[in-house]
């Protein structure tokens, strides 16, 4: 049992309508020097969020008080680049529990689910609708229902279903992680590994 259970999340959302947000932007390499998983949220989107002298950049969305919430909505190909799980840790530590995009990079998607963040992949058209809804009203709420695999814009009632494999869904809903599962099949793994070529 490694993280909070994820069932239904109703929240306002923070819009980041930029494509190809890579993990170097989410957390620059110079902030990867910790040996514990603490405090990464402070440096989330560090170089987009702060000037060189550490003053906040007024035009960046995380510095705009009208936007808040537990859902981050990003442009296409979110989380590309480096495999650093620190990117997912920073998003989680900042307070997000769900990231919505029309396309995710593979490693980021795995990393997110492994720590209890739900990546929700929607169509380009639905992503556009979400951005429009937030633009019209920054207090617009989204409802992400993992058991039902749906995401809904509550103001308009528009909804779309999303994919997730049954195993990962079960893990997230119950707060289980992969190591729990792997530990339970330890003997089977040892037997297989001892017969393997390498």
């Amino acid at each position: 049992m490694a993280y909070d259970k994820f069932t239904v999340l109703k929240s306002t959302a923070v819009p980041l309508p930029i494509e190809n947000v890579d993990t170097d932007q989410i957390i620059p390499a110079r902030f990867l020097k910790a040996t514990k998983r603490e405090g990464f949220g402070d440096n989330l989107f560090r170089d987009w969020r702060y000037n060189g002298d550490d003053t906040p950049k007024a035009d960046f969305v995380l510095n705009n008080p009208i936007y808040s919430g537990k859902i981050l909505v990003g442009g296409k190909n979110f989380g590309s680049g480096s495999s650093r799980e620190h990117a997912a840790w920073a998003i989680y530590d900042y307070g997000f529990r769900c990231v919505v995009s029309s396309f995710f990079a593979d490693i980021f998607k795995n990393n997110s689910m492994n720590i209890g963040i739900l990546p929700v992949q929607v169509s380009d058209a639905f992503l556009h609708k979400i951005f429009s809804a937030i633009e019209a009203d920054p207090n617009a709420e989204l409802e992400v229902n993992l058991p039902e695999q749906t995401i809904t814009i509550l103001a308009t009632g528009e909804s779309e279903s999303f994919d997730i494999n049954g195993y990962k869904k079960h893990n997230l809903v119950n707060g289980f992680d992969d190591i729990d599962y792997l530990q339970a099949m330890r003997e089977e793994i040892v037997a297989f590994a001892q017969k393997s070529r390498y």
Partner: protein, 468 residues
């Protein structure tokens, strides 16, 4: 033996599935696990919290590379946070009985350079590391890919990870390549065609005469950058070039074990008629030396071309404009002749001996341009020794360059090797993301030949004009 034609990828993947979870990922056995100081400490902390030991310590190998200094490695590491991570790696590996090539060890170097160099990487293996450029090892016919820290913990605890089987892509490049065109140009060309997300969800096999005629160093450069088009990894079928590279390396099999291995390795190829989910074909003769103009590796172009305009690009116009603004470039202008400030040759992409030979071939008899700061960083101590033995060191010094000590260095700028804000760097590394090489740094990705041409002229220069 099954008569159904099978891909190389399927042969290796299927041999490693411990359990196929219904409506879920495969429980996938990992043969070799590489770890380094940055993405492993929290994984070891997780083991400690769960009170779990490492299942097969002899299948994991550690090296320090990401945040290590590239000068004065004999002195204590100045940055306390980096020093702390290096100490954690040393302590964690000692506690769990894992081989560790730390700073100062003659085998130390970048993880994806030292693995193959020491014969740890062998055909048909599954290899992971908490580093996205683990795809490098695919050059040997391995399924190799980067993982996150939770997965590092999984591999330590169980020698397995949970992995959904990716789709299969084959990229064929045939035809005669022109002089001055290298493996780096081939892969930058492919990424520019497919975009930075074009292979997401796929595992790539590279096939065709261009890859068959490449050295192992070149193949590693190509497989290394598979992740830059979003692919899980990329692989090339092993052949005589592969076997000759491996033979005699420290951890390579010997005697009867070598003969047996060779029989197996020769089966590691895609059968005639095996099918892929998608396939692309390119002509090697179409490729010229490449350079990137934007802020993701898909934003590359032939060095004599003009920067495209937003209209020519499928991707979002706003993101394209943001990218050019960051770089200080404009649509439809040439890259040739642009003044540059820094040159970086090194990294897991281009930090092997062949890369320094290429760099030296242009630098020889010329001088480093006065406006250029150059960082020449070997991928390992073994590469460094080769540079000295082959006389490349003397060529570099004669031309006004210095040779630094091995490490990831300015590729990700975790150590002091940072490009200052606003400055332009021609870099042989793998990523041109905003701030990748230091806050505000502007990166132009290119081959060692293009880097050398820039280093001696102080501007973006077609290396073909400098090759005899």
């Amino acid at each position: 033996m099954s008569s159904k034609p099978t891909t190389l990828f399927d042969k290796v993947w299927d041999a490693h599935v411990v359990r196929d979870i219904q409506d879920g990922p495969d429980v996938f056995l990992i043969d070799r696990h590489f770890i380094h100081e940055v993405t492993s400490p929290v994984a070891f902390l997780g083991l400690k919290n769960r009170n779990v030991s490492v299942m097969f310590p002899e299948r994991t190998f550690a090296t320090a590379d990401h945040n290590t200094p590239t000068i004065n490695q004999h002195l204590p590491v100045q940055d306390p946070l980096s020093a702390n991570q290096l100490k954690a790696l040393e302590e964690n590996t000692a506690k769990h009985g894992i081989s560790h090539w730390g700073l100062g060890n003659p085998k130390n170097g970048i993880v994806h350079v030292v693995g193959p160099e020491n014969g740890i990487t062998l055909p048909g293996m599954t290899i992971v590391c908490g580093d996205s450029h683990t795809s490098t090892h695919g050059a040997f016919g391995c399924i190799a890919f980067g993982i996150g820290t939770s997965e590092v913990e999984m591999v330590l605890a169980s020698q397995c990870i949970m992995q959904p089987k990716p789709k299969k892509m084959r990229i064929n490049v045939n035809g005669e390549m022109h002089k001055g065109v290298t493996a780096k140009d081939v892969v930058l060309y492919v990424i520019s065609k497919l975009t930075a997300a074009g292979a997401t969800g796929y595992f790539v096999e590279y096939a065709g005469s261009v890859f068959e005629s490449m050295s192992m160093e070149g193949r590693m450069t190509v497989c290394n950058m598979s992740i830059e088009m979003g692919a899980r990894g990329g692989m090339i079928a092993p052949d005589e070039t592969t076997f000759n590279y491996i033979k005699g390396r420290e951890k390579a099999p010997t005697g009867q074990a070598w003969d047996d291995a060779l029989v197996y390795w020769k089966t590691l190829k895609t059968d005639e008629g095996a099918s892929f989910d998608i396939e692309y074909n390119y002509d090697g003769a179409e490729i010229e030396p490449m350079i990137t103009y934007g802020t993701n590796p898909g934003m590359g172009m032939g060095i004599t071309a003009l920067i495209p305009s937003a209209e020519d690009i499928d991707a979002g116009k706003a993101s394209f404009a943001k990218s050019l603004q960051y770089m200080g470039f404009h649509e439809k202008e040439p890259m040739l002749g642009k003044k540059i400030d820094y040159v970086f040759i090194g990294s897991c992409t281009n930090g092997r001996i062949e890369d320094f030979r290429a760099f030296a071939s242009i630098v020889k008899g010329r001088k480093k341009a006065d406006n250029v700061t150059a960082w020449v960083v070997p991928g390992s101590h073994v590469v460094e020794a080769q540079i000295r033995e082959e006389g490349i060191y003397d060529i570099l010094i004669e031309a006004g360059f210095e040779l630094r000590q091995p490490g990831c260095s300015a590729c990700l700028a975790m150590n002091d090797d940072k490009i200052p804000a606003g400055k332009y760097a021609v870099s042989t590394s793998n990523r041109n993301f905003e701030g990748r090489q230091g806050p505000g740094a502007r990166t132009l990705l290119a081959s060692p030949l293009v880097a050398a041409a820039a280093a001696v002229t102080g501007q973006v220069t077609d290396p073909r004009t400098l090759i005899a």
